[in-house]
């Protein structure tokens, strides 16, 4: 369970982690060992934007019947 400081920060952010955590349904909650000292709940998960992958170039020439999507100006 989060320590006092941890809960305090969560509430300050509007993220009620402790008391309302049981209401969260359909979510996979990854359990982490509590830090040795109470504090922020920041995880070490890499930033998903910075860690984004490039596209993978075609490894072979497209076959004549290769799938094709025509995109238009979207959003």
């Amino acid at each position: 369970m989060p320590g006092p400081a941890r809960r305090s920060r969560a509430v300050a952010l509007g993220l009620s982690v402790g008391a309302l955590g049981g209401l969260v349904t359909g979510m996979v909650l990854t359990e982490h060992p509590a830090p040795a000292t109470a504090g922020a709940t920041v995880s070490s998960v890499p930033d998903p934007f910075a860690a984004g992958r490039p596209a993978t170039p075609a490894s072979s020439a497209p076959a004549p019947a290769a799938f094709r999507q025509t995109i238009t100006s979207a959003s």
Binding site: G14, R53, P54, P62, Q69, A74
Partner: protein, 266 residues
């Protein structure tokens, strides 16, 4: 999501297309701003109170925030600035109810379509398909059983010849254009939906459209908007520095290739 969907499944298990349709409809029900019972609508009505949301929606908000940070604020689904200022500016090891500050509202917009395509393709592959492509109104993700071919339409003449044909084994593609969802204000000025978050006004950067190719649909969408708002030549740097490539069409119809695009031209 207010658009059409096209799904291609290669060597998929029985019911794969139905699975994809059901999942897209579920994400639409969770993320649409136009459904009063969606999770996004409930967030926007919450007045700053925490709202319990699904893992899908928590992920959507996390990635939108990551996109906001990663583009120096150019990608901003309406109120992420206030959201960040409110302190929700990093990933947490647990997710609970989310609170959105009072304001104009969180608009998943394009990143929702890109992420939905990513999610559905991932689940189709996990279900045993050897390849899948999900195209939601032009934001798409394709992986497996490649190469996939994508024709990039001319934003000034969408029924005319394609500007380029992309070929790739895995990736996400998205286009942002100021020519879509455009209108004329009562004072006669041309308006469009791509707002520059620094001015609050429709962006006027000399760029008509940007098409981005990168690893994921959601990042392609974020980068397309960021590049359009950056203008030229900065738009090309936005792509090159974020493991992406693509092409930029300026207001005069000129086409500018980002570094690395040659490897993806069919």
């Amino acid at each position: 999501m207010g658009t059409w969907a096209r799904v291609v499944v290669v060597d998929g298990p029985p019911g794969a297309l139905r699975l994809a349709q059901t999942r897209i409809e579920q994400l639409e029900a969770r993320w649409s701003r136009f459904r009063p019972d969606s999770e996004v609508s409930r967030l926007n009505r919450s007045g700053g109170r925490p709202v319990v949301v699904s893992a899908d929606t928590a992920r959507l908000v996390d990635l939108a925030l990551a996109g906001h940070r990663g583009t120096a604020g150019r990608f901003d689904p309406t109120l992420l600035g206030p959201l960040v200022n409110a302190g929700y500016d990093r990933l947490f090891d647990r997710l609970g109810p989310i609170a959105v500050p009072p304001g104009p509202g969180f608009d998943p917009g394009g990143i929702g379509k890109g992420l939905a395509a990513d999610i559905v393709v991932g689940e189709l592959l996990a279900a045993g398909a050897s390849g899948a492509c999900v195209n939601l109104g032009g934001d798409l993700r394709a992986e497996g059983a490649g190469p996939w071919l994508v024709d990039v339409a001319d934003p000034f003449d969408e029924t005319g010849p394609a500007l380029a044909r992309l070929a790739f084994d895995a990736g996400g593609v998205a286009t942002s254009s100021r020519l879509r969802r455009a209108w004329t204000a009562p004072d006669g000025t041309a308006r469009h939906h791509l707002i520059d978050p620094t001015t609050g006004q429709p962006a006027a950067t000399g760029v008509a459209a940007v098409t981005v190719l990168t690893g994921d649909g959601w990042r392609a969408e974020v980068l397309a908007k960021a590049a359009l708002l950056a203008g030229l030549p900065a738009a090309l740097d936005v792509l090159a520095t974020n493991r992406a490539t693509g092409l930029v069409v300026d207001d005069g119809g000129g086409i500018h290739h980002a570094p690395g695009l040659d490897r993806f031209l069919a």
